[in-house]
């Protein structure tokens, strides 16, 4: 037994990669249907969106790209379903260049295919503008100065949804789908905090520790943290009767849970192996 544990220390890393690949692929092909129970931060985000006054305009920024799509895109889909189900006009913009395509894909699926909404009246995609936090600071003064035209090349002053929207003070809620910089932190610093506009965000797992203090201090209303929280949000809108669809994040959660269990097992075995080896070395 001791020899086996000592040998664990020198296992080829490719064996570990292979095991992780197998434990991720198998539940994707043969789903187990493990339950998804919403956590408090996800419920807070859901409740904050639920509490937006009827008909109020919402600003949603798609600040992620294909590299983080598996984590954030399911959240975007679920949040858009929630917003459109409640009948909120949604103004979409992007601070990441490839966020433009993420936004287009999500809006095509939810706004056009599922809810049959009208572009320019029920929602608009303002597109991408380079400038990071300077753009956020800019729209606190004027949308038109920063986004003269939307992503389709239409002057934004000609769009019904942008009527009466001069700057960020004319939106009731900010939702940021963030994968890094610029993202949730910049939206808090330059828009939500100084203008006292309620805000929530969907984040990659790796960002959660950085953003969570803003949730605890009340600067942000809940957080959708990584793929598990995306699955939780999908469960919440399903329970509220807004959709029957399982959602992409929910169907991936079995693989996520099993992979975590195996990684924990590796860490435990690695530590046992380390201690056994150290004990043997002390002995001789």
């Amino acid at each position: 037994m001791n020899t086996f544990l000592q040998k664990l220390d020198s296992v080829d890393r490719r064996v570990i990669f292979l095991i992780i690949a197998v434990v991720v692929i198998l539940p994707l092909i043969f789903p187990l249907g493990l339950p998804v129970e919403p956590t408090q931060t996800t419920i807070d985000a859901f409740d904050a969106i639920k509490a937006i006054p009827p008909g109020a305009k919402v600003l949603m920024s798609f600040d992620y790209g294909p590299s983080t799509k598996p984590e954030i895109h399911p959240m975007s889909i679920a949040v858009l379903r929630h917003l459109f189900h409640k009948g909120h006009p949604v103004i979409v913009m992007c601070l990441w260049p490839d966020g433009l395509f993420m936004a287009k894909e999500a809006l095509d699926q939810v706004a056009l295919e599922e809810y049959k909404l009208t572009y320019g009246r029920d929602f608009v995609n303002l597109g991408y503008r380079p400038g990071n936090e300077a753009i956020i600071k800019g729209i606190t003064q004027s949308f038109e100065a920063n986004f003269t035209m939307d992503a389709m090349g239409t002057l934004i002053r000609e769009l019904p949804i942008m009527k009466d929207v001069e700057n960020i003070d004319d939106v009731s809620f900010i939702i940021n789908m963030s994968a890094g910089f610029p993202g949730a932190v910049e939206w808090i610093q330059y828009a939500a905090d100084p203008h006292k506009i309620p805000m929530t965000s969907g984040n990659t797992s790796i960002q959660v520790n950085e953003v969570l203090p803003y949730v605890k201090s009340g600067q942000m209303q809940g957080i959708i943290a990584g793929m598990p929280a995306a699955a939780e949000y999908e469960a919440l809108i399903r329970r509220a009767g807004m959709t029957d669809e399982m959602g992409e994040a929910t169907s991936s959660m079995d693989a996520q849970s099993i992979a975590h269990l195996v990684i924990v097992l590796f860490i435990v075995l690695g530590n046992i192996s380390y201690f056994v080896k150290r004990k043997q070395e002390k002995k001789y």
Binding site: P97, S217, Q256, A259
Partner: protein, 281 residues
């Protein structure tokens, strides 16, 4: 449909090529890496140019005029200069100015010049001019961040840790106990972790204890960060595997399986040809 099949083959190939690095550094990985860097840089550059520089800078320096004969004064010469640009590239500089619905604003000549200065780094003899542009960027970023950081990260976060250590009216004994404990953990954690970074006094005696408590809180924080990082990476892996599984169906010509077999066979042949290179792996 043909486009989506071609896209599936390209996506499956590039994904498998990147994953192949887990086995060993190899030509497939190098090819995918170079394609990724090239495409990213070109995409970012092109989007920034057409979305920002053309409408927001050229569109303000030379806004579209319906009838050039109405131009007067300085603008007559200014638009003659534009006509030279139009002659060089009618695509970037369309006839009679850039249509972006902006009024003319000649102050934008400053960022135009600073932008040109930035590119002068490529000419070593006058590369020092790029420092002016960098100084502007650094100054702007520092000024912009100062307020946001002080307000949201310092003041609001300090305010967020000023928490009551007594119960709240209307809550049960157990609810109050939980609340008090939670607030106590936040206060002790914040103060002790901050004290760990206080180096003006030697960490001895009771201060050593406070510092040690701070380390424990920091370790818990690092552990949480590691956990979240693992969770994020597994999520991304799931995303790629979901696509690979989709592309392995007959509808996509079994793209994943065919490409996987070809890559495995090629890597096997390459490892046979140069076994010494692989011994250290």
């Amino acid at each position: 449909m043909e486009h989506s099949i071609l896209g599936a083959w390209v996506a499956a190939f590039l994904t498998l090529a990147i994953f192949s690095y887990l086995y060993n550094d190899n030509p497939f990985y190098k090819f995918a890496e170079h394609v990724y860097i090239g495409v990213s840089a070109a995409y970012w550059g092109s989007i920034a140019f057409w979305n920002q520089i053309v409408p927001n800078m050229f569109g303000r320096l030379w806004p579209h005029v319906e009838d050039p004969s109405t131009l007067e004064g300085f603008n007559v010469i200014w638009y003659k200069l534009y006509n030279i640009f139009h002659f060089i590239s009618g695509n970037i500089f369309p006839e009679n100015g850039v249509y972006a619905n902006h009024d003319q604003n000649l102050t934008y000549i400053i960022p135009f010049i600073l932008g040109i200065f930035m590119l002068l780094r490529l000419i070593p003899s006058i590369g020092w001019l790029a420092r002016w542009s960098l100084a502007y960027v650094v100054g702007l970023a520092a000024g912009l961040r100062m307020y946001g950081f002080m307000s949201s990260n310092v003041l609001s976060q300090i305010y967020g840790t000023i928490l009551p250590l007594h119960g709240e009216a209307g809550l049960s004994f157990w609810q109050n106990t939980g609340l008090i404990l939670n607030n106590l953990v936040i206060i002790v954690g914040t103060l002790s972790a901050l004290y760990y970074f206080f180096f003006s006094m030697e960490h001895k005696g009771i201060f050593s204890g406070i510092s040690r408590i701070g380390i424990y809180f920091l370790m818990v924080s690092f552990g949480a960060s590691f956990g979240f990082a693992v969770m994020g990476r597994i999520s991304l892996l799931i995303g790629r595997f979901n696509d690979l599984i989709t592309y392995s169906s007959g509808g996509y010509g079994y793209a994943t399986l065919v490409l996987l077999l070809i890559m495995v066979a090629t890597l096997f042949i390459l490892s046979r040809q140069d076994p010494e290179k692989n011994t250290d792996q």
